[in-house]
Chain length 470, copies 4
Amino acid sequence: MLAEIKGLNEECGVFAVWGHKDAAQITYYGLHSLQHRGQEGAGIVVTDGENLTAHKGLGLVNEVFASKDFETLYGKAAIGHVRYATAGGGGIANVQPLLFRSQTSSLAIAHNGNLVNANQLKHQLESMGSIFQSTSDTEVLAHLIKRSTYPRLEDKMMNSLTMIKGAYAFVVLTEDKLMVALDPNGLRPLSLGKLGDAYVVASETCAFDVVGAKFEREVKPGEIIVIDDEGIRSEVFAQSSGRAICSMEYIYFARPDSNVDEINVHKARKNLGKQLALQAPIEADVVTGVPDSSISAAIGYAEQTGIPYELGLIKNRYVGRTFIQPSQELREQGVKMKLSAVRGVVEGKRVVMIDDSIVRGTTSRRIVRMLREAGATEVHVRISSPPITNPCFYGIDTSTKEELIASSHSIEEMREMMGADSLEFLSVEGMLEGIGRSNEDTNCGQCVACFTGSYPTEIYPHTMHPHDKC
Amino acid sequence: MLAEIKGLNEECGVFAVWGHKDAAQITYYGLHSLQHRGQEGAGIVVTDGENLTAHKGLGLVNEVFASKDFETLYGKAAIGHVRYATAGGGGIANVQPLLFRSQTSSLAIAHNGNLVNANQLKHQLESMGSIFQSTSDTEVLAHLIKRSTYPRLEDKMMNSLTMIKGAYAFVVLTEDKLMVALDPNGLRPLSLGKLGDAYVVASETCAFDVVGAKFEREVKPGEIIVIDDEGIRSEVFAQSSGRAICSMEYIYFARPDSNVDEINVHKARKNLGKQLALQAPIEADVVTGVPDSSISAAIGYAEQTGIPYELGLIKNRYVGRTFIQPSQELREQGVKMKLSAVRGVVEGKRVVMIDDSIVRGTTSRRIVRMLREAGATEVHVRISSPPITNPCFYGIDTSTKEELIASSHSIEEMREMMGADSLEFLSVEGMLEGIGRSNEDTNCGQCVACFTGSYPTEIYPHTMHPHDKC
Amino acid sequence: MLAEIKGLNEECGVFAVWGHKDAAQITYYGLHSLQHRGQEGAGIVVTDGENLTAHKGLGLVNEVFASKDFETLYGKAAIGHVRYATAGGGGIANVQPLLFRSQTSSLAIAHNGNLVNANQLKHQLESMGSIFQSTSDTEVLAHLIKRSTYPRLEDKMMNSLTMIKGAYAFVVLTEDKLMVALDPNGLRPLSLGKLGDAYVVASETCAFDVVGAKFEREVKPGEIIVIDDEGIRSEVFAQSSGRAICSMEYIYFARPDSNVDEINVHKARKNLGKQLALQAPIEADVVTGVPDSSISAAIGYAEQTGIPYELGLIKNRYVGRTFIQPSQELREQGVKMKLSAVRGVVEGKRVVMIDDSIVRGTTSRRIVRMLREAGATEVHVRISSPPITNPCFYGIDTSTKEELIASSHSIEEMREMMGADSLEFLSVEGMLEGIGRSNEDTNCGQCVACFTGSYPTEIYPHTMHPHDKC
Amino acid sequence: MLAEIKGLNEECGVFAVWGHKDAAQITYYGLHSLQHRGQEGAGIVVTDGENLTAHKGLGLVNEVFASKDFETLYGKAAIGHVRYATAGGGGIANVQPLLFRSQTSSLAIAHNGNLVNANQLKHQLESMGSIFQSTSDTEVLAHLIKRSTYPRLEDKMMNSLTMIKGAYAFVVLTEDKLMVALDPNGLRPLSLGKLGDAYVVASETCAFDVVGAKFEREVKPGEIIVIDDEGIRSEVFAQSSGRAICSMEYIYFARPDSNVDEINVHKARKNLGKQLALQAPIEADVVTGVPDSSISAAIGYAEQTGIPYELGLIKNRYVGRTFIQPSQELREQGVKMKLSAVRGVVEGKRVVMIDDSIVRGTTSRRIVRMLREAGATEVHVRISSPPITNPCFYGIDTSTKEELIASSHSIEEMREMMGADSLEFLSVEGMLEGIGRSNEDTNCGQCVACFTGSYPTEIYPHTMHPHDKC
């Protein structure tokens, strides 16, 4: 059974809106702009004040929803979720928002993050008679709320959050209330905006731009925001020990047009590229970035060094889920799909190839070879983040420690494996400088656990267990 | 009936392979890399030396084909086609390759281009008793071949081509022969490559890179190439009056990693951007390009002017066919999907926005407004091609003359409609210089009809009829 | 919420097998033969001794299952369920078997019947912190078992059954045990058979014939049978107050080739027809039955009276779920689908039309008119069961009392509404005589509540609430 | 190629309506009632006076059509077709009506029957330059019409029919005309009816009952009926040498509620059963028929002999196309699906099993064994038609001569193979007597070729070729 009850709430995206007559559609467009945060499944739950109505499914947002679905998704408030593709999966039962109905009320929950004590809590709850319907750690919150003896829902919620540890951005909807909560370390991003008189909440601000909303402020670590017909209220359910927002959001996860904790992601990445140029310059003819997430850093590196920026690598936009992978034999004959090196650009050139990060190193090796086959005379790999040496337990899928190549290899060993002429990483300091948070907190308020092994929360034996997907 | 028999072979992509044991798979990967040339439908016909087997369908290549389909697509040679999305459609019957079976032999045809005398030929053929199964102009070739009295198939083919006028790159497959032909003006691109001992043919060279093939040479205007178990032979079926390859392939249609008639598309576009910078400089803080096709020109413009290149506009990668468009009301509230302006990049900045071309002008107006709403203080629009003032009859979908804004408006009028602070186009000369063909032919061997109205072939009254898509 | 938590386990079918290497396939064929008991959804859960694996879906058995599904449905024991189509539905979440996983064990339940105190139990369980995942009353059993403090699973099960009231035939599967239980009144049918060394359990014996199994005996009212690797054991969990098997199983629900409590259904129906002939003879030319369920009674009526039996009414076999119903206008023009009167048979004839029962009377009126339009000179309606005057709370969908025409109309009124020349029902005594159970129990061991209003169990206020389907 | 161009228009059903505002829906309901004549595919073509619109697909009528399809199927006249399931198939391209568009007009054709000189005509047409789009023999008619030089369409049609040999009931639709034609032998059934002012045509009269139409008359052998805005006209295009309607329509193919050439099918079958009782009586306890087609004959046999008629065999209504067949191993363990013997009826009884015909004999053997396993002490097989000793070339799928068991075995040999206690067939005379056509024509106007080898038309060498389905 163990395989089914772990490794669940990876990187995902949440959205919520209160007080808009087209709440479900607004959520649809919002989720759409968060699609890069999760492609396995999507769902929306809407309330008309009396009933919660749900629609969810496996696949992309525009595969899950058709026009007619919105005929029944009627109401003034909604929450939505896009779910990251995981190996073990769990299928439709794990697609969020999770919806819990009882004879007296209903509750829908969407979650971005990962709880580090979910297994421990599940054991306790099951021993008291609870039955879980999904393998998602998110469901723990519903059971804790159900069993809380406080009379007010927001107190039940706050009471429950005190028992939960890890990373979470929660949006919770009932017939007549929207509740939003961020973990005390603020590990995951979560912003509040306004759309006319309506309130919107999203994992990234790009969702605000898409629906025409105005950014108001960040949700604070340890804060719960409650919105209902009475208005909006904020309470602190846990004193924050200082923010520790995930560095990977800046490095590769968030969309370049989003601001994460008020810093533009494209700008941050361009600055990471500039820092990298300062720390690891090289003589070359062409700078190119691995699309899409390394483009900004490549532009920064080129601007800083004066080496021209070119489209040396092209990503095929049409490689979808159902794409048929070439057989080993065809692959050896040179069939390659997702990425192409542009011979007309790199032939006879010394190329600087910018990538945002290295996990297992296999992709980098493939790209280096591709560039050489297209005629590059030298390939210098520059990584716009530090080596990843430790697994993430907060929702980013960075494999087990064993699979992280940088945890067991020197930079020179990695360079050799990749077949690069040179390989350099950005330092942790360079990264913090590049992102440029002026924050007084430790590590400028960022979580750098995957680079340093210093985790901002406790981690438990069961959490530590290696698993296919973190 | 008229609505159904016109406007058919818009911009599409063809691929062929002869002499490879995985001919159908190779074609699949080749078509995949040509997906940008047509998303309405796709098909493959394969021969095992004795029978032709076909699989085709509406949708993207990876929607049309599943792994199991290749169990029956067995053989040593194949042709494939991706079809451009048209309004009237015609549905599955028009998806190519078209396959014609008789009691004695079979014939499959795939076509990129548009025949300008198809209607005239259809009338004649029908009056002689022929029955057409599709509304595609491509089918005309099959009927001409069927009725040709020459004994050898290649002579039937050449005989038929002498009756056809317009733009065409044909790949034709029988049980034991592959025939490839390009129109006497070479209006459409078509390249020949080798994959080990096998021959491959493709609309763009990016398909060669993807399947691991080596570029051999361009197919020549007026040339037919026949490949069978005897080997490869080339014949000239029509003396070319000089090449006139479509300029739009360089400007926006082809993939940046393709070489079109031996010139790299990204480089050509970057040079168009540089030419544009020379002809129409401006003082500004940021250069940005409309993704994806204007990125290269923007990089060139930035490099030439020294103004930093930034990601000021982001395209949502997940807006698929089934995406639900916002209602008018939601659109007015600011909901926008395909493209977002990056506030963090353009706020408080003077922006140069590079676009590759202007057809109706409505998209440009929307983007200008989007940039202003995101805080740009000035928006200067620069177009990396000349004004399009005339319709295309050779397969590019540039609407009727009435719908081409530049055919009836001055540049100042267009600027005002767009709400731009300034608007400049590249000149025809600048374009030819930027693409940089050293060719002695008229217009450096390029078709510039859509900019000048001077068509390289005859155009007939029926061809002239306005239609939704051509 | 009320609408969602009532009216759930209507007439359905269950099947189970223990000790056969193709347990899932055997269950598939068994469910197939029980398809008439439920067409909304179907499911199978199989155990390989260590894990439960489930597959279920909406639709017919052969729509829900494909060959490849059985590759993962591997194991030695399985349970399956077909679900009756209900208005409110509940969708996939209510399709059985319901599967409950915890960190220590799993439990799958399939149920035929309806619990009369499910709402009361749900209220209690929710107030203790339980969260329900479906609107099915079946889920109550899982929560009761989960909370039972007995150490042995079969004791938890028996303990839970003592709290449940109503009609139920349960099959319950864990990793290593199959449990089968029938309510103390034996309201629903349930038989035990052997297939080689394996045990099989089914709602109807036709499932045994289909899988090649041999009937062993009926499961007894109040009996629980436990089968595991130790063998088979039977215990009595409740003293039966006498059997009260549903009369409708004989009258119209079960398949004619099944034996229900050891009486063949075709024979029983034929005898009902003979009894009807004795009680309500008429002079006529032709006897015809409403297909399919009244055919046997019509044959009996014909045999007893000597009037020839003919196919006067034909059912269209192809009217499936997706069939498009004629508009009101087309209906008035005479378009009719499911049933046709055979003009060649009834024209100019006095027709006896045998139907098995009358619920709302609207179908009968339509058939009478159809027969007249086809030329019948007289139509005499004979019903092979007594008038239904009371709703069923045990799983048969007989509407609310208000909708039962016989609850508020005299036979003469009904005759007039139908437009029949005469109308007669079988008496309760005639029915009991016709079915021919020699049993000493009240009403020969049959439930006759829908005819008499005398229910064999308590009925509670909430159970009494009218609902669309019961 | 041969495999694809033979064996095409097996038994199918056609329907047409002229002059009804809901022409397409009417056709839908009509096709529905003809579903038993073909389950592989279905299609409708409708005209609004200016354009033909088509919708067709593989599968049952209610799988092919959805409500929304009728939004575009708008017009006053329509034709439709249901297609018999064939092995080789040909797929969607062969689904009828076939639709042929040209620049001046369109033509849709639906066909029930089989042309015996289709291959010869195809060869000729292809040598003149025609290209065929399907492997259907029906397409020959379109090409003949296209090439006919008569000015009036009906003359083109009549001219073409003079070149065609074999069995055919054609319905042909253009923008403004409906044409109906029956072959000179009237091998296939075709009736004309009226629905208010509208005309309807159908393969069987059951379609008239379903749409509320009134039977007018049979279409005559060699007759063409033309219906347009001018009204209805009949012409004779070939002098009939006497009707030879297919006997199999009465014996097993048509629906029991249809009248075929004015004789009710159920009555005819019941009389076949009575004749059989007179020719081959036996002492027994029970008469049962193989459902569905032998039920009427069984009722007749029972009535004549006085032995009670019982439901000794039950057909599972839910065995659809996607049903998973039991493996050989499971089959040997006794798993059986489509048909069940009713133990409660046949146990300990001497059973007369009535079947309508014997083709390969394998089904009969299986049923005999099933009855014995269910406890029958004797099984006497009685066949309500003569032995089939010759293949059909007119559209009924009776395999090749080699596969017809009666072509090479004596009755005693067949009895032994089946394991029956006795076996008797009806004589040809008994069959003609039973069906009861008072017609003066040879064989009472029936085709008896499959029983006697005397074919009513020429048969050609190519027609004679054995093929999987004919």
